[in-house]
């Protein structure tokens, strides 16, 4: 799965997700990919979020909606990302997943559980894409 957030020159935010889902899934199964607030969410006034992992579990918690709403309440991206992941892990200790958060100023952070997660960033300070590694 790819989940992506972009802030354009005007400061406007959009997010998107694309995936072919889980291998060997039962036909008809839909994961978190097309679910608003689960795989991705954005609000221009706050920021955006992308998620990846065990979609069957993650879509029950709308982690990206949670991230954006936590940032709206004043949390930094790192704190909001960790909080959203911990809410899932408390209920599903075997869960595997990650979120990446970006606020409206372009500050970003990731959080993960059950695996080491990497996310990619490019902004005007970078000549090329930079990859950030997040430990569970």
């Amino acid at each position: 799965t790819i989940s992506m957030a972009v802030i354009d020159r005007m400061g406007h935010i959009a997010v998107g997700t694309s995936t072919n889902g889980a291998t060997y899934k039962i036909p008809g199964r839909v994961g978190d990919g097309p679910i608003v607030g689960s795989s991705a969410y954005a609000d221009d006034e706050v920021g955006g979020c992308g998620a990846t992992g065990d979609g069957d579990t993650m879509m029950r918690f709308l982690p990206c909606y949670q991230v954006v709403e936590s940032m709206r309440q004043g949390m930094k991206p790192e704190e909001a990302a960790k909080d959203a992941i911990s809410r899932i892990a408390r209920k599903f200790p075997d869960f595997v997943g990650a979120v990446v958060a970006v606020d409206k100023n372009g500050s970003h952070a990731g959080a993960c559980y059950g695996w080491t997660f990497q996310y990619s960033v490019q902004n005007p300070d970078m000549n090329d894409v930079q990859v950030f590694t997040v430990l569970p």
């Binding site: 992506m4 020159r9 060997y24 679910i35």
Partner: protein
């Protein structure tokens, strides 16, 4: 109004307008933006989104370009056609795009026969009042709006993966509390396991009867 008052008014107005112009220029030329953030080290996808947004595309357009690049590259086998076969060996596509300004969303789920997931989601956003289209309805809409299809979304790799899985008695899989537990279907409910939930009045429930399977999710099999 005295001439001096008019001059003061005009001067104040010009000063205000010049401040507005500076503020606007700072927004457009902000050294903070644009920004592209993506899950995983999908470098080409981020570069595609960056090229778009750095050349003046909107955030939505850049997201579509970035995710579309990943679909074409079949990033990790988890994006685009030719990956993640289901129990029938078929690849289906899920995708979503959201505009954080208008809160408009377009999404497709379990879309068959069309490889361009994020573009299909964008078409749902642009040309319908709906949020999410699923299954063959999503495919028909995407094709009617100009995307190529119908086409087979399998690849030699996905067919091989599915064949190997079938030879391994369809293990692992996402079924639970069914029989047969360790073979391919057709499946039926495992009534002895389900009784644990149905008969809540008994105190002889054996939790061990509930089948547990470790998660199948990993770096090359995830949403």
């Amino acid at each position: 109004m005295a001439r001096s008052d008019v001059l003061i008014f005009v001067s104040t107005l010009l000063l205000f307008l010049s401040l507005l112009t500076v503020a606007d220029a700072e927004l457009v030329k902000s050294d903070k933006f644009p920004v592209v953030v993506s899950t995983w080290p999908f470098l080409e996808a981020v570069r595609a989104a960056w090229r778009a947004v750095d050349n003046g595309s909107s955030a939505v357009e850049a997201v579509v370009e970035g995710c579309s690049a990943c679909e074409e590259l079949r990033c990790d086998g988890t994006v685009g056609p030719g990956g993640s076969p289901d129990e029938n060996g078929e690849t289906m596509i899920d995708a979503l795009v959201m505009d954080g300004v208008t809160m408009e969303v377009g999404a497709v789920a379990a879309m068959r026969y069309v490889k361009d997931g994020i573009r299909a989601a964008h078409l749902v956003m642009k040309y319908s009042q709906h949020t999410l289209l699923a299954g063959e309805g999503a495919s028909a809409f995407a094709i009617s709006m100009g995307l190529p299809g119908p086409m087979n979304l399998s690849s030699p790799e996905s067919v091989k993966k599915w064949s190997d899985w079938k030879e391994n008695q369809c293990q692992p899989n996402f079924r639970k509390n069914v029989v047969p537990a360790n073979d391919c279907g057709p499946y039926k409910p495992n009534n002895s396991a389900m009784n644990v939930f149905v008969d809540k009045s008994t105190e002889s429930c054996e939790m061990g009867a509930i089948e547990y399977k470790p998660p199948l999710v990993g770096p090359h099999n995830h949403d």
